[in-house]
Symmetry: C2
Subunit: 243 residues, 2 copies
């Protein structure tokens, strides 16, 4: 009721950037925690106590609690019955389920993106891919990971489905505490790189099914290597326990 009317005195049309209204402490804590999680700085299964977070970021319990419980509500962190919050541990069964979900969501995003994507977006994505290939050749795997993220989400964002993109982001974050598990012996990205080329070609030809199937292959490849790692780690631990 108040956006269309005359209102000469109002500032309608001036269109200033909304003032940098500083985020609340709770949101800032959330951001800090989220980026630490995405960077893989916590170990799987690690406990995050309210007071530890509060002390580390020098805030009171209230915002620390809010941030932790928000992340838990989103399923990025895991809350046990006693109220403590942990980094989730991924069992093989859970990885299998998460992978199926990711397949469904990301295939949908890919199909929609193929229909809606603009030429500029394709150029941008192609550029990201080139950077990623370069980073891979100089074995800068940290950059590879980051560019891989950008590559995929640039595509997904082109779907125009913001809610869907948010959902996919969450699923990626659920895996990310395992980045340093998968990190060291991340030998042959080559197959992944190859797949990215297929995706770029599918974008150019605006072929939804081709793009979707390449995405699915990408997801399953990543999941398989992660499953192998987990498996290997499990037997290793089992052997160590037997000694």
């Amino acid at each position: 009721m108040n956006e269309k009317k005359g209102a000469e005195g109002s500032l309608a049309g001036v269109d200033m950037a909304p003032i940098g209204r500083s985020e609340t402490l709770g949101q800032q804590v959330r951001t800090q925690l989220a980026s630490a999680i995405m960077a893989g700085r916590f170990k799987p299964g690690q406990k995050l106590t309210i007071r530890a977070v509060a002390a580390a970021l020098d805030v009171s319990l209230t915002p620390a609690r809010e941030a932790l419980y928000n992340l838990a509500a989103e399923g990025i962190l895991e809350m046990r019955s006693n109220g403590s919050v942990y980094l989730p541990t991924l069992t093989s069964e859970r990885i299998v389920e998460l992978t199926k979900i990711r397949t469904a969501l990301e295939a949908l995003a890919a199909r929609e993106a193929a229909l809606r994507i603009t030429d500029e977006d394709i150029a941008h994505i192609s550029r990201i891919n080139d950077l990623m290939v370069a980073a891979n050749e100089r074995k800068d795997y940290a950059s590879v990971m980051e560019l891989n993220w950008e590559f995929h989400f640039a595509i997904y964002r082109a779907s125009g489905m913001s809610e869907l993109v948010r959902m996919i982001e969450k699923r990626w974050m659920m895996n990310s505490s395992y980045l340093n598990v998968i990190y060291p012996s991340f030998g042959q990205m080559d197959q992944g790189i190859n797949n990215h080329h297929t995706m770029v070609r599918a974008l150019h030809s605006r072929d939804p099914e081709r793009l979707a199937s390449a995405v699915v292959i990408d997801i399953n490849f990543a999941a398989d290597t992660l499953l192998d790692m987990i498996e290997a780690q499990g037997t290793e631990r089992r052997q160590k326990a037997q000694r």
Copy 2:
């Protein structure tokens, strides 16, 4: 390490139910709010202030805030930049997006369920469907809604993918504040009923694709009627504003 060993003094084998450790106030508030939302007792766009919730349930601000922000973090409620929490309002575009997401998720759940479901589950689901048909014949639409919920989730739960079921639940809750919008003139459920029969048959023959496609039809039918309602309401309001 503590379940197999001798441990004569332990209570292994007695197998008592863990004591009913009462939920925290925050969780109780969350439950109350969630069931009120699912029952459609709030209007779309309605504002839920922390203090109003706290007063209504006679708790302090802390648990009320926690519950509201949890629901917001899950996307069931909508948080605006000033921190206030609202029931989400569904635009047509948002409904279209949500419907596509639901299609992807629920088709996946249906396919997995068709492969894993037991005979007892099928019998149970068939029974629920009979009750729903009966409720529809006596025009008890409140029961129809509830039984419809049970019918669908009994199937989805048979997929064995608990995370996926949780995700689907959330998306159903996002629509539910529009139940009383869709409620009054909910004339022909008949097509939906017919579709349910198809689903039961597909379960008996364990046919993933048949089941999935029936689920998709069900989702799209519900979405179309909701879209019509929203559309009708929109023009009505527009006409009223012109007078």
